[in-house]
């Protein structure tokens, strides 16, 4: 089915850009700010994320509690900051897992072609044939949930699309002269994949990876929301939204604030990905 998406006509908007694309600048700024926030979260946070202020339960945003407090009187703002670490760790590690599985398989399939290609792609097709959320739920339901397990499950799930993209680019590269030259020199398989193909696949992979980070963050939030991801009392954004549900009338900030933080994160990463795509290869635009 995604083959048809590749056939789909590319977005026709060939505007010439002389300067850096604005999505790159805006997205880059947001992501940079996010990284700094996550790195310094413990320092910036006015309170420990699990400190309860029993007298100040469900109080609205004020100077003392910038984003209000939740049902235990915990500072929502501090929890937001710590939550950014969880979201980024989940997004990045899930993507690393999917790159680790998908890229070698895709390179191998594109390079070897024939039976190897057929075998790898059919196995991945089977993985794609299941509704995405089902496999993750199954894995998380039969074993005790943890952040790393969520990341690995989502990463495995995201490997087939990565492998497909890698393979299609590798197939394109195979007809190029530098690849033929390397083959004529009789280079070994690992050299061919790692030194000849991989460096030329990176530009496409960076864009795809940014999409995967977003996918992982959003799916991770859904899983925490359903109770199969990060467990309380961790300050996970999805979990915070879920906990705030019961108090949405009297204290909407508990749920609304993490959503805004998540939206900002997702938009920032998406813009960065879009900008990188424009910058690295204008021809790729609209391929997704």
């Amino acid at each position: 089915m995604s083959d048809a998406a590749i056939i789909a006509p590319a977005m026709a908007a060939p505007r010439r850009r002389l300067r850096l694309p604005w999505p790159l600048l805006v997205g880059g700024a947001i992501v940079l700010a996010l990284l700094i926030t996550a790195a310094l979260a413990q320092v910036i946070a006015p309170y420990p994320f699990d400190e309860m202020h029993i007298r100040d339960r469900l109080t609205g945003p004020s100077l003392r509690f910038l984003a209000g407090t939740d049902e235990y009187g915990r500072d929502v703002f501090s929890r937001l900051l710590i939550g950014s670490q969880l979201s980024l760790v989940l997004g990045v590690s899930a993507t690393l897992v999917s790159l680790g599985i998908g890229v070698p398989l895709g390179l191998l399939a594109g390079y070897r072609r024939g039976v190897t290609d057929e075998l790898i792609m059919r196995v991945l097709d089977v993985l794609l044939a299941f509704p995405p959320i089902m496999l993750v739920l199954l894995i998380l339901a039969i074993t005790p949930p943890s952040l790393m397990k969520t990341a690995i499950a989502i990463g495995v799930l995201s490997a087939p699309p990565i492998a497909r993209v890698t393979r299609s680019v590798a197939l394109d590269l195979m007809s190029q002269e530098f690849v033929e030259a390397a083959r004529a020199r009789g280079e070994r398989l690992l050299y061919m994949l790692g030194r000849e193909l991989l460096p030329n696949v990176w530009p496409v992979l960076i864009v795809e990876a940014s999409l995967r980070v977003v996918f992982a963050i959003l799916l991770g939030a859904v899983l925490s929301f359903l109770g199969f991801g990060v467990q309380p009392p961790e300050a996970d954004w999805g979990l915070m939204i879920s906990n705030g549900r019961a108090f949405v009338d009297e204290a909407p900030w508990i749920s609304l604030a993490p959503g805004v933080a998540m939206a900002l994160t997702v938009i920032g990463i998406s813009l960065l990905g879009d900008g990188l795509r424009d910058l690295l290869d204008p021809k790729l635009r609209g391929r997704r």
Partner: protein, 318 residues
């Protein structure tokens, strides 16, 4: 064509067999013990062993799988351990309600999404285009349950316009039934609109640049006719495929959206069974959702072929 359909149906069957094996094996890896679940906390090892023997749980896994699968093929889905009721009727009720939700969402997404795509393409680079793409971006930048929460806050708690939980049947009156559907459908739609509208926009732009659209304009057809009759028809093909892909997102979305709106559908049944480790219910719910997903993918591929006769199916050509 017939060969292609048969081959694809075979692939669907194979997927279901693999999924049934996966589900069966993973549920047997669960820490919970079926006999203990049935007998409750005051059971003794002896009574548990006796019940396990009676239920055939002490047989080898292969025999157990064979029994389970052949009962499944005869339509016997077993009984829920927690609710102590047969699974099948419960499952079909929930399936019907989820199908209603999914069907309404798909209808709204396809009409509104394609419409937004056309508007964005026709007014490319001007404010309707920018407005639509910002709207679409906003839709996909948070998970669907967050929009559900925002909608509950705005339309349920503040303005009391729509009910925020549960489902109603035709027996409660048509208006009540529709009112219960509005917020879940809008929530699901918000997260799916982006794909459809962006893809329709880009394929419309491509088509609007083409020779035959120029010819149609040169022949003096009104712009409305050119866009709706000449351009849109050809631009719709990619939208059909993306709608099919979105069906997977829809299933994932339905699980979360049913949870937040307390909508008694298949997704909620699945979460319930996972939380309580109700094995028969869990197995049945996962299998039904997988089957629906596979069949929807197949249906979309076939529809694509019908809509675009130029596509030759591998297998049909040989």
């Amino acid at each position: 064509m017939a060969i292609y359909v048969l081959r694809r149906l075979g692939a669907v069957l194979a997927t279901l067999v693999v999924m049934s094996l996966l589900v069966f094996l993973s549920t047997h890896a669960l820490p919970s013990n079926t006999a203990a679940l049935i007998l409750g906390q005051y059971s003794t090892p002896e009574t548990r062993a006796a019940l396990e023997h009676k239920l055939g749980l002490d047989l080898p896994l292969t025999v157990q799988y064979w029994r389970w699968a052949s009962a499944l093929l005869q339509g016997d889905l077993g009984a829920s351990l927690v609710m102590e009721r047969p699974v099948a009727p419960m499952l079909w009720d929930a399936f019907g309600r989820s199908a209603l939700l999914a069907g309404c969402t798909m209808a709204v997404v396809s009409t509104v999404g394609v419409g937004m795509g056309i508007v964005a393409a026709v007014w490319r680079g001007r404010w309707p285009d920018h407005g639509i793409s910002m709207f679409a971006y906003a839709g996909i930048s948070v998970p669907e349950f967050y929009w559900g929460l925002v909608l509950i806050l705005v339309f349920g708690s503040t303005f009391h316009l729509f009910p925020t939980s549960g489902a109603a049947t035709l027996a409660d009156g048509f208006g009540t039934m529709v009112a219960h559907l509005v917020l879940p459908v809008v929530t699901l739609t918000l997260t799916l609109l982006a794909h459809v509208s962006r893809l329709t926009r880009s394929s419309m732009l491509e088509v609007l640049d083409s020779m035959y659209v120029r010819v149609a304009r040169a022949r003096g057809f009104p712009e409305r006719v050119v866009i709706l009759r000449h351009a849109l028809r050809n631009a719709l093909l990619p939208a059909i495929t993306i709608l099919a892909q979105d069906f997977g997102f829809l299933i994932g979305g339905i699980v979360a959206v049913e949870a937040i709106f307390a909508y008694p559908g298949l997704g909620r049944l699945l979460i319930f069974s996972l939380e309580r480790q109700d094995l028969p219910l869990m197995q049945a719910a996962i299998l039904v959702l997988t089957a629906v997903y596979c069949l929807a993918n197949l249906g979309a591929d076939l529809l694509y072929g019908v809509a675009n006769p130029r596509i030759r199916y591998a297998g049909a050509v040989e």
